[in-house]
Symmetry: C2
Subunit: 301 residues, 2 copies
């Protein structure tokens, strides 16, 4: 029982209308691994530059995350600079420096080749290379972003075909499929070969599609959103973490997994970087799960 995540470990500068933070830990693999670490074992495959502060490695280690495959290379760590507007939704990218991430050639150690795999938002060519390395993975989940949909749609479609779960933003699903309705978009993505589709909807919540089931939840309501960065990867971490923990793809379990994703995303956005995610524990997660169930449960007529 373990998940291997392949994605970015980054250094971010983030600006919201209320606060500005420089040189904080970011990246899809960082958020994903911390979020899922509460639910299962996690191995990170990533690359950082020689400027990367080892304290972050120690922080991930303290969550029992396997960091042996975060490779340090000569050069700069992937750097992202983003700015959020008052609506705290899609950020404006002010600067991106790929640094050592430009030559990221992930190599999957043999002992991970049968694990659950999460391919975070990276170049579909790399996603395909990783997929070729796997032996008999329990489950493969894939994320992407509008940039790859526009630049490498063919390769992305190949990666979707080889995956079980496709996790994507609603707006990206529309871009990918050319469909406005989420139902029509999901139908097309099933035709691409995905077996389970998770549409993340930001402050609207999330929806889940399987061949025979549709499930939707609102976002966990928060008094104060500090920084939305990493919400989607934390969501994926909670979702896949719970699935890997239980090893069960029943409808009921997938629904609960989506709620775990929702809960982990809600923690992620309550602070900059992974700070809030680091401060929680199993009880806090279960407590928020129960609260969410109470505020959404109603009896049948």
């Amino acid at each position: 029982m373990a998940i291997t995540v392949i994605g970015s470990v980054a250094i971010d500068n983030i600006e919201t209308p209320f606060e500005k933070k420089q040189n904080i830990l970011g990246g899809s693999a960082s958020f994903f691994s911390v979020a899922s670490s509460y639910l299962t074992d996690v191995n990170v495959i990533a690359v950082v530059g020689s400027d990367f502060d080892d304290k972050y490695i120690d922080i991930l280690k303290s969550k029992n995350i396997n960091v042996d495959n975060i490779i340090k290379k000569h050069g700069k760590t992937f750097h992202w600079e983003g700015k959020y507007d008052y609506d705290m939704s899609d950020p404006q990218t002010l600067n991106t420096e790929l640094g050592v991430f430009l030559d990221f050639k992930p190599s999957v150690p043999h002992i991970f080749k049968n694990d659950t795999l999460f391919l975070a938002n990276i170049d579909p060519d790399i996603q395909l290379e990783v997929l070729e390395q796997m032996l008999s993975p329990k489950l493969i989940a894939l994320d992407t972003m509008n940039f790859w949909i526009e630049k490498k749609k063919d390769k992305l479609l190949q990666a979707i075909k080889k995956s079980d779960i496709f996790i994507i933003n609603e707006s990206e699903a529309r871009l990918l499929t050319g469909e406005v309705s989420i139902f029509s978009a999901a139908k097309k993505i099933f035709k691409y070969g995905a077996k389970i589709i998770v549409l993340k909807r930001g402050s609207y919540g999330a929806t889940l599609f399987t061949d025979g089931m549709f499930f939707m939840i609102p976002a966990y309501p928060l008094e104060n959103v500090v920084d939305p960065t990493g919400a989607g990867d934390s969501f994926a971490g909670g979702f896949l973490g719970y699935i890997d923990n239980t090893g069960n793809l029943s409808d009921e379990n997938l629904k609960k997994a989506l709620v775990f994703g929702n809960i982990m995303a809600s923690f992620a956005v309550e602070s900059f970087s992974i700070d809030k995610l680091l401060s929680i524990d199993g009880d806090k997660i279960k407590d928020r799960f129960s609260k969410f169930r109470n505020m959404t449960y109603f009896e049948n007529i």
Copy 2:
């Protein structure tokens, strides 16, 4: 068991990016009364002009709606012209002609003075005049809009104080209270004197606040939204209709009532005017209720 609704019966011109309709039945009382007619008896108090087509009266009558207090006066019927953008949310008002609605002085017949009362979005001065006419109403629910919040906040606050349920859009709640967080906004509205608060959130769904309970639901997912006009009033019709039908303000019942509101709003937006609302029946409503429950229900951990 009956609800008296006081609001507008209007003639609308509606433009969406896909279609344009002229001279169709609109108005808060029209949508509310048809939506609630599936759940309880409804009396409408409204005014129309001499240009008003009696066929609409017959249509409401066919739903067993008491139309005896829709008064026809010399002059023009209230006319609204609105245009929706591709996001199908807040419409742009192109034209408003109050016509006979300008001198609307609703008089509540004695037999309605102990009913449940819905004061749709009208001048708070008129809402207060109606409240003074009531004897011992079972329940009073109040709606409003940004125009009255800006122009007559004092009078609106008096009307809220005299009501049990305040039904309002999320953005209007923010405008009214000056609070961004819906929780802080609800706290303030409780201080104004409301006992139950329904925040309508458009395509985000709806939330319900009582002294001890918070409940939220996503919007019913639709393949095709034709015209959002009347969604809020249809929501109120389903919500209050179910409460009036059951006569029970328990938490469980209020939650179900919110779902009925959601369901009636989902039907309303699937056509222009009240067309879709007219075409449904109890089975279709219960079917959509059950479907919605299936797509939002998950087990506890």
